[in-house]
């Protein structure tokens, strides 16, 4: 590893007590009703805003992925005055668009014994009991009509020959509840949502601010009252105030430098909200997706996902012989190790992502990797094609197969795909209560940016669902409940000293980067950070490695501020400046992620600690760790403060996961 190798100044001897203090127990404000009835109960008790009063409320939505576009459109439809911000040129480019395989919904039309209760069980168990079961119920209940709505506004879901909606299976589940449009489900949902937002823009209910990046949150009197943005074309920094702010700004997986996320996906909005007082939930829960196209060259800019849906008809294997140099076609069946099928006969290739990733990484690290860099295993469609025929396989996955061939030059109809794990999704995010409101009143979060729903591991096809449910069917209920208490109050005056102060702080931060005059661009430091994270905070972690990583991150952060260089000025489009700000935030968030991973003295879902395992499987500690860690920014520069929300399970009793 290049980053800091051989340096002795690393934080040797640091213990968790030197890094964090334990704060207070938090109330998630979950209704007392049975988890199954919690959402109905909550909706019944929500305050409402009269239709004639809605236009008096200004709401800011940041981000236009499934959650953001949905929330903005739905609130616009209800008659609120919504301002929408996106750093893209147009809303429809948000990264939800790249999701491939499908969207879960427990509509339970088939006789495979699906139900909302089963969906909740799968989701809670898949998340290794580190999310709220009440959240999962809301996801399942509202998920039923998400399909109706998205179909109505333009998503051409796949249909059976009889004209009914088609479904397929996804990992961690034994029923077929995933709705899809070939391998481009995210695209079709995102386009439908963005077009619905367009309709509200045309109607004058939503105002769109494209190519503007949120750089800070305005907090006054303990309430979120606006944001500060930079116009990415003119460079101008300005503020907008509102009654409420909704962040739907996605996950922070790009902290690992080369992930499957879009190049511009970043953590800046949520990180800066954190630094203004919003708690950060479970930052160490990072999903490593088992099937991505591995790195093949030095300049490869990112990794590309190959959908989990491929595991329906593809079989994962590695040669039984170490470093087998033969072409896969020349390796006889007996010398192929279908390790997921053998180790997990009940779920086979469809084990949850964390289990699949760990097993694949284990094979690669043990020397059984394939491909020129020996950094992959095979995902083979031979059996699937024999069983179903090329035509059906093409209909299910053609765009994925084409994409694979485009990127690698190899034809997966003929030769198996080479795949390897890659960072893909972050279950952690800003801590929210049951109403999706953060610890700062008036600041709401939707989609991947929040910690909700997925616990320590997200099931495949649950992310499109959570984005849609938050946007269309949760925030439009929860945000008005908050607004109702503000009737008669105008949004914060733009001349308020807090507004000027927040703008000034943002401008100072930009100036500091521009004046730094170092020797390397921000990308140089991002690459180094990724290397640290990849070694010490990936599919498996241990206290020694994490402690070392924290030391290395602190050194790298110092080095960044000593040596970063940002070419160009601030008064125009400057992509180096955008990157520099995002990398500066990653360098802080990375430390919190590692502190959380060090603090969480158990294994849970994607957080696999080698000092907490039984027979290679994650060993949870429900006695001591059955809670969400909600980290609070130490404004005084002291130790990280870990608050906690205890989690209780009534509908899905605690049990150790077993996919065997």
């Amino acid at each position: 590893m290049s980053a800091g190798a051989g340096r002795k100044r690393a934080a040797v001897g640091l213990t968790i007590d030197d890094l964090r203090v334990v704060g207070v127990a938090l109330d998630g404000k979950v209704p007392d009703a049975h988890p199954r009835d919690a959402w109905t109960d909550r909706k019944l008790h929500y305050s409402l805003v009269n239709p004639s009063n809605r236009a008096k409320f200004k709401i800011i939505v940041v981000g236009t992925g499934l959650a953001g576009a949905g929330a903005a459109a739905a609130l616009g439809e209800l008659g609120y005055d919504v301002d929408v911000y996106s750093f893209h040129d147009v809303p429809r480019r948000a990264h939800s668009i790249a999701a491939q395989g499908g969207i879960n919904s427990p509509r339970a039309r088939k006789v495979d014994n699906d139900s909302i209760d089963r969906f909740v069980k799968d989701t809670v168990k898949g998340g290794d009991y580190r999310g709220r079961e009440q959240d999962a119920y809301r996801l399942g209940e509202e998920g039923v009509r998400v399909i109706d709505h998205m179909q109505a506004i333009g998503t051409p879901f796949a249909r059976e020959y009889g004209g009914q909606l088609a479904t397929r299976s996804f990992g961690g589940v034994q029923v077929s509840r995933t709705y899809y449009t070939r391998g481009q489900t995210g695209q079709q949902l995102e386009l439908a949502a963005a077009h619905a937002l367009s309709r509200q823009v045309a109607a004058g209910h939503c105002k769109l601010h494209a190519r503007q990046e949120m750089l800070d949150l305005i907090v006054k009197d303990g309430r979120a009252q606006g944001i500060v943005v930079r116009d990415l074309v003119s460079g101008k920094v300005r503020a907008q105030t509102a009654h409420a702010v909704i962040l739907c700004t996605g996950g922070y997986g790009n902290i690992y430098y080369k992930a499957t996320l879009a190049k511009n996906s970043n953590a800046t909005a949520i990180w800066r909200a954190y630094k203004r007082g919003a708690y950060f939930g479970n930052p160490c829960f990072v999903q490593i997706h088992p099937t991505a196209i591995p790195l093949m060259s030095t300049w490869q800019s990112k990794k590309t996902l190959m959908s989990e849906s491929l595991r329906n008809d593809g079989r994962i294997w590695a040669p039984r012989q170490k470093g087998d140099p033969r072409d896969p076609a020349d390796i006889p069946e007996a010398e192929r190790f279908y390790f997921l099928e053998e180790r997990y006969p009940a779920f086979g290739n469809l084990v949850p992502r964390d289990v699949a990733s760990r097993n694949i990484r284990e094979r690669i690290e043990a020397g059984y990797g394939v491909g020129p860099l020996k950094n992959a295993v095979y995902l083979d469609f031979k059996t699937g094609i024999e069983r179903l025929g090329v035509k059906l396989i093409r209909e299910r996955y053609s765009n994925l197969f084409d994409m694979y061939e485009e990127l690698t030059g190899e034809n997966p109809y003929v030769t198996p795909m080479r795949i390897a794990p890659s960072v893909h999704f972050t279950m952690g995010g800003l801590w929210t209560d049951y109403d999706q409101m953060t610890s700062i009143p008036g600041l709401f979060v939707g989609g991947e940016a929040s910690w909700a729903y997925h616990g320590a591991n997200r099931l495949g096809a649950n992310s499109l669902l959570s984005g849609c449910v938050d946007g269309w069917f949760t925030l439009p209920y929860a945000v008005p409940n908050y607004l109702a208490g503000l009737l008669g109050k105008a949004p914060l005056d733009h001349d308020d000293p807090v507004v000027a102060q927040t703008i000034a702080e943002v401008e100072d931060g930009i100036e500091r980067l521009l004046r730094n005059n170092g020797t390397h661009g921000p990308d140089h430091f991002h690459a180094k950070l990724g290397a640290i994270m990849d070694v010490y905070a990936s599919v498996s972690r241990d206290p020694e490695g994490l402690t070392k990583a924290i030391g290395l991150i602190r050194e790298l952060r110092e080095e960044f501020w000593r040596d970063v260089k940002v070419v160009g000025g601030s008064d125009r489009l400057n992509q180096e400046l955008e990157t520099a700000g995002r990398v500066a935030d990653y360098l802080e968030l990375a430390e919190l992620l590692c502190v959380d991973a060090l603090d969480r003295d158990e294994s849970a879902g994607a957080h696999f600690r080698t000092d907490h395992e039984v027979d290679g499987e994650a060993k949870r500690d429900d006695e001591d760790w059955c809670f969400c860690s909600a980290w609070e920014y130490p404004a005084d520069g002291g130790k990280h403060i870990r608050n906690f929300e205890p989690l209780t399970f009534r509908a899905v009793p605690l049990q150790q996961r077993n996919y065997k």
């Binding site: 509509r107 511009n264 490869q300 030059g409």
Partner: protein, 254 residues
Amino acid sequence: MTDEKMRLILEVWRQDGPRAEGRFETHEITDATPEMSLLELLDRLNHKLVEEDVDPVAFESDCREGICGTCGLDVNGVPHGPEDNVPACGQHVRSFKSGDTVRFEPFRAKAFPVIRDLIVDRTGLDRIIQAGGTIAVDAGTAPDADTLQVTHDEAERALDFAGCIGCGACVAACPNGAAYLFTGAKLAHLALIPHGKQERAKRARSMVAQMEHEFGPCSQIGECALACPADIPLPAIAVVNRERIRAGFKRKAN
């Protein structure tokens, strides 16, 4: 990974703003490799420029998997690059040989003004959507999607058109700067969705009017479909006129 290093001459368009004078700059990359994408070639160039304290080339990209439609530039005069029906992020250095010149320019279309270097403003496409490329169903009001029968083939055909990634290559490829492929794809897709049928004629009238307001006419040359990274079928351009004529006979919204 190969060890093969290629030398490529990069001619890159530089332009400070919409009204500024543009110019080509020439750079040399000596360590290109065949498996690099053309955007990674620009990354390589920018890395070198930043290390030399020179302003890097502004260009757009995001997902780099061919689905977001953010990337878009001309390579040797062709939108996205030498391979047909592949977005810039999926175009590779392997299409060139060592010693070749690769010329990067912004998409050239009257409706796409240059913002900086290789970045253009493509929001004109979204103004066509805003004009009526939507379905007027509010959250929560839709009927059960299983009670609406859609045939397998109809759903597949809708998706063939709905796959448009909105990159604008069709406009850049067209000598007239027409947006027929884009608009036709949207009209065809929405006309095949059950709820989209209610406003079919009204939508055609308003979207076509907005399209003609900003973009050029169609001469049915077919360059657009060759450039299209989403493989939108060429008949989409005929859909524009079909829907326009259909709407002409209809007095109602549907």
